[in-house]
Amino acid sequence: MSRILGGIGIAHTPSMGYQYDKGVREGFDPKWQPWYDGTRPVKQWLREKRPSHMVVIYNDHMNYFDLKAYPTFAIGVAAHFPQADEGYGLRPFPGVDGDPDFAWPIARSLVRDGFDLTFCQELELDHGVYSWLPYLFDAPWPLKVLPIAVNMLMHPVPTPQRLHALGASLRRALLNDGANRDVVVLATGGMSHQIHGTKFGLTNEKWDRYFLDAIEQRQDELVATPVEEIMQVAGTEAAELAMWYTMRAALAVSARTHYSFYTLPAVTGCGVIALDEPEPRG
């Protein structure tokens, strides 16, 4: 069995990536300096955990998957995942390595549990991954990634219950994969934000801080909250937060927050949480 070391929940937004590149070049914008500083402890935590693999639950934003065939759950089984060009050229980072020998036993286990995956032999990663990636790791990326892309753009999107069940099944898969990896599970979805319609620019720090707190021990309360209500109070795009449930359900119920941080630099709440998985009993 592989070891689950812990989990991370983190926001993403294109500007997060843009500000990183600008920040390392010419110093961080005062609005974004807190986010850079606030992610340092997570980077340090990861350096200490030394995961060999990371499962990433994320969503694409019309940058790779087109509407011709739009998957609810897509799993990347390739050995390499290039960065997606969102139309502004590639940022100065290499692609991410995958590990088919890690991916396939997990995919098999998920299918056995009744998850109807789309298997991707090719996959390019957009800002859903690249916006936070350089905040947490230095290139060349020191671990292999298993991306699971979730439909968050075209309704019906999967239910909170389904995303939670995916995490529980992922946990079963990792703990029974017959391998010996050190795994971190990361989920990323924008916190409060709405970037279209007359409610453009809506943010809700109160909701975001509640969410960061509740995900540790009151996930049931969150999962039971209808996505429509989250969209009403925190903006339609905050529906992406439901992906965090997958990460949380992949950890033990007794997992505890090691660190969390929140700031609101622009039009999207930016939060991060790192949870420690308890040591397995000898």
Binding site: H196, E228, T236, V267
Partner: protein, 128 residues
């Protein structure tokens, strides 16, 4: 406090809408390819005809009517690709959606609210 999940507050991108506006979305999605952006720069009419846009969709593109394009079923992540190709960011698109002047609009961001799901019943009642 606007709690609506309907237009113009929100343009929920549903599967039904996507099927109806598939050609428009295909067109906008393909702006991720430099060749398509280049063709648009050189001969927008030919490109729009190649993608079989309707007359209404063509008029909305010509008018840079981002709100109209999203209202016509364009997913906003797709529509902002067209905007980007003519030099407008997603924040410009946001100002357009709010019917606001960009220079004034950007000073007002973000629009902070402080409500929680538990507040919704009372708020919904207050509105009636």
């Amino acid at each position: 406090m606007d709690l609506s999940l309907e237009a113009p507050s929100v343009y929920l991108f549903t599967g039904e809408l996507c099927t109806r506006s598939y050609k428009l979305n295909r067109f906008a999605f393909d702006f991720k390819y430099p060749q398509v952006r280049e063709r648009f720069a050189n001969d927008p009419e030919a490109l729009m005809t190649d993608y079989a846009l309707t007359d209404n969709e063509k008029a909305l593109v010509r008018a840079r009517d981002w709100t109209g394009l999203v209202a016509a079923g364009g997913n906003h992540f797709n529509i902002i690709k067209i905007a980007a190709a003519v030099g407008e960011s997603h924040l410009h698109v946001g100002a357009h959606m709010c019917g606001a002047n960009w220079d004034e609009f950007k000073q007002t961001l973000p629009h902070r609210v402080e409500i929680m799901p538990s507040d919704l019943p009372a708020l919904a009642k207050g509105k009636r």
